[in-house]
């Protein structure tokens, strides 16, 4: 047994590898010369599926729009989207495969700062330029990377409006909580920095594991610390749980502000009246009369016609970033990575999402909107130049609603 087995083993291994190598090229896509392959891993399942799904809607819309106009520099776009399951390691593997095996011409950005941070190591190594729309943590751009650019505002400014509004109503002590991953941590850092600048005291600063569902003790802790307002740096499920439990425990605060969650369409639907009076942040809202970006109105109409709902900021950001990509490809005259990279770094363009012109690190300066959910509707309350209505703060107590 020993002799036979050990003798056979190296051959077995080599056979397997050769078979695999032979099968390898079959896995890659052969495409006629006139097509260009664009690929990316986007979360179709997992905790990021809701926001990422809206990125995907825009991606598909953009591909069809460009193909209808004759394609990218005359090349028809073929799209290859894979599911990273909201998991970082899966995303890394998928991008390595897309770049080295499928040999995509252009890469798309994944969703979430955490995944983008991990994936950008891969895109840097293989020198694939991309404009990010699903990531906002500035730390990604502070590492000297050359091939990644951003169109959205930094995570640190997401709650800037909310902090300003807190000060306006005289709040002095705040609690900052958040999920323990890249984006919420950076957004939380922003809250603390702004609080310091505006003279608010942070009485509690705590992270929780991403899958946490029971916030009873944490909420009581916040109350015990004497906080008047809560700044939650979260995604969908956790923000929803926090609100429901605040109501169950009859804990009243003057202000509750959260990232991501409230900007998703079914947040007010799922929570009903419990979601009223909270503040949320949006990078962009489908309000052409208020924001007036180039081509917004037509984009909103096309999107609504195709998907039956108005685009939210995830959809807007993806489309805007792809518009930039298209403009960069045209400026570079092709898909050569160095030329494309330089084009993305220097181009100055107006998109449906806003203005794009990046600084030396690759970051855009984009301004977002703080809104409040009032009777199930999102209303812009900050900055003042765009405000639809004055914020109804402090939040009324649960028993009085």
């Amino acid at each position: 047994m020993t002799i036979t087995a050990i003798r056979m083993l190296p051959w077995a291994l080599v056979t397997l590898l050769v078979l695999g190598a032979g099968a390898g090229p079959a896995w890659a896509h052969h495409r006629p010369n006139n097509e260009v392959l664009i690929g990316g891993a986007i979360s179709m399942t997992g905790q990021y599926a809701e926001p990422a799904g809206r990125n995907v809607n825009s991606i598909k819309l953009w591909v069809d729009d460009v193909n209808a106009r004759g394609g990218l520099l005359g090349h028809k776009i073929v799209l290859r989207l894979l599911d990273d399951k909201s998991d970082t390691q899966t995303a890394i593997k998928l991008y390595e495969k897309l770049i080295t095996d499928d040999k995509v011409d252009l890469v798309l950005c994944p969703y979430s700062s955490g995944i983008t941070e991990a994936v950008s190591n891969v895109t840097e190594r293989y020198k694939m330029p991309l404009v990010a729309y699903g990531a906002s943590a500035s730390t990604i751009w502070e590492k000297g990377r050359r091939y990644i650019f951003n169109i959205v505002a930094v995570a640190e400014d997401f709650q800037k409006g909310a902090v300003h509004l807190a000060r306006q109503i005289g709040v002095k002590r705040i609690a900052v909580i958040g999920q323990d991953s890249l984006f919420p941590r950076q957004s939380g850092k922003g809250v603390k920095d702004w609080a310091k600048k505006l003279g608010l005291e942070v009485v509690l600063d705590e992270n929780y594991p991403p899958k946490q569902t029971d916030f009873t003790a944490l909420l009581e802790k916040i109350k015990a610390a004497g906080a008047e307002a809560i700044f939650s740096n979260s995604y969908f499920a956790d923000a929803a749980a926090q609100l429901r439990q605040m109501r169950e425990l009859n804990l009243n605060f003057k202000l509750f502000s959260s990232t991501v969650g409230p900007a998703l369409p079914n947040f007010p639907e799922q929570l009903g009246a419990t979601a009223d009076y909270i503040l949320g942040f949006s990078l962009w809202e489908p309000l052409p009369a208020v924001l007036g970006y180039t081509g917004m109105k037509e984009f909103i109409e096309r999107y609504e016609k195709r998907y039956g709902e108005k685009p939210n900021y995830h959809a807007g950001a993806a489309y805007g970033a792809l518009q930039v990509t298209e403009a960069a490809v045209r400026k570079a005259g092709g898909f050569d990575s160095e030329k494309l990279r330089d084009a993305m770094a220097t181009i100055d363009v107006q998109t449906i999402f806003g203005h794009y012109k990046v600084d030396a690190r690759g970051m855009n300066s984009h301004e977002g909107i703080t809104f409040q959910i009032l009777r199930g509707q999102r209303r812009v309350v900050w900055p003042e130049k765009w405000a639809e209505t004055k914020a109804e703060l402090p939040m009324p107590e649960w028993s009085k609603r």
Binding site: M1, I3, I6, P10, L13, V14, T88, G114
Partner: protein
């Protein structure tokens, strides 16, 4: 087993190492990655086998050592600017110390209790890595500075695999291995025969923790991004256990065969059935555990295709 047979097996191992060493230029980057991870799982399965196959103490938390190695490498390279190779030695050392510190109390437990305790230890290590963010950056994870090609990690993993196979073979054909088996079969009797079971168990446990730590360090440098949930992932322990079991727990060849087969199957299903591959994987685990608990090698022995020795 005579001297000739040992020499021949050693030569075969060397030939395997050389063959795999010449492979990279012929492969695409993707396949090189695949080969690297296959070799990594061979290392992991063999290591797990030392404590759980030979010695009979089923560890359900072995991924802790892997994670320790990964973090040692990542922290030293990113925050302290160390060159990559020495960090592997540090990872191995930390894992060894952890193994002794953890093993001494925990190896006193029997069967299922040891397994659960190890699971708790692995999860506990994950939580510590998440919470102690001064050291580990917590939930943010660590991004390592990029190397130009992936070749150095390939060769490092190859070297590690060869060493692990050699060590396992050595254990399997030595008195040390016989004593470990004695502990597995009947610990009380072994103790009565004068074997210092505590010492032997601890030695086996420590050895079994060192190799995964080095593997973890190499993997961190390859993938360039780690965070607590990915390097302390319970499914990695499951994979180690399943691979050993599939091939044949307690043998030398078993974990190697199991690792190669299982990892290849996993990769093929992942590529071809992205949505359903985990369902297929789960089913596979159920079927193997249900029908082949003694693994392929055990199956072969039962059929008389193989000679039943202590190890193969």
């Amino acid at each position: 087993m005579g001297r000739h047979e040992h020499a021949r097996n050693l030569a075969l191992l060397g030939a395997l190492g050389l063959a795999l060493g010449f492979l990279p230029p012929m492969l695409s980057v993707y396949l090189r990655s695949f080969a690297l991870f296959t070799m990594m799982y061979v290392v992991l399965a063999l290591s797990w086998n030392i404590i759980s196959g030979f010695t009979g103490y089923t560890s359900f938390g072995h991924v802790a050592f892997y994670g320790i190695g990964a973090y040692a490498c990542a922290i030293l390279v990113t925050d302290y600017g160390w060159p990559w190779l020495p960090t592997l030695a540090v990872g191995a050392l930390v894992a060894a110390v952890a193994a002794v510190a953890l093993g001494y109390p925990v190896l006193r437990l029997k069967g299922p209790y040891f397994a659960i305790a190890m699971l708790g230890a692995a999860e506990g290590t994950r939580v510590v890595a998440t919470v102690w963010d001064g050291l580990t950056h917590g939930g943010l994870g660590i991004s390592l500075p990029s190397a130009e090609t992936s070749l150095p990690t390939y060769y490092a993993m190859l070297a590690l695999m060869v060493v692990t196979i050699a060590v396992t073979y050595a254990i399997g054909h030595s008195r040390f291995g016989v004593r470990l088996n004695a502990i597995r079969e009947d610990e009380v009797a072994a103790e009565a025969l004068g074997i210092d079971t505590t010492l032997y168990k601890l030695a086996a446990f420590t050895l079994s923790g060192v190799f995964p730590a080095v593997a973890g360090g190499i993997q961190a440098y390859k993938v360039l991004y780690i965070d607590p949930p990915s390097v302390f992932f319970v499914q990695i322990t499951i994979a180690m256990a399943l691979m050993s079991m599939l091939g044949g727990k307690g043998t030398v060849i078993g974990p190697i065969v199991g690792a190669v087969i299982l990892y290849t199957v996993q990769e093929l299903t992942w590529v071809n059935f992205p949505t359903a591959h985990l369902i297929a994987y789960g089913l596979f685990i159920v079927l193997v555990a249900r029908f082949m608990p003694r693994g392929l090698v055990g199956f072969a022995i039962d059929r008389g295709w193989a000679r039943k020795g202590m190890v193969h």
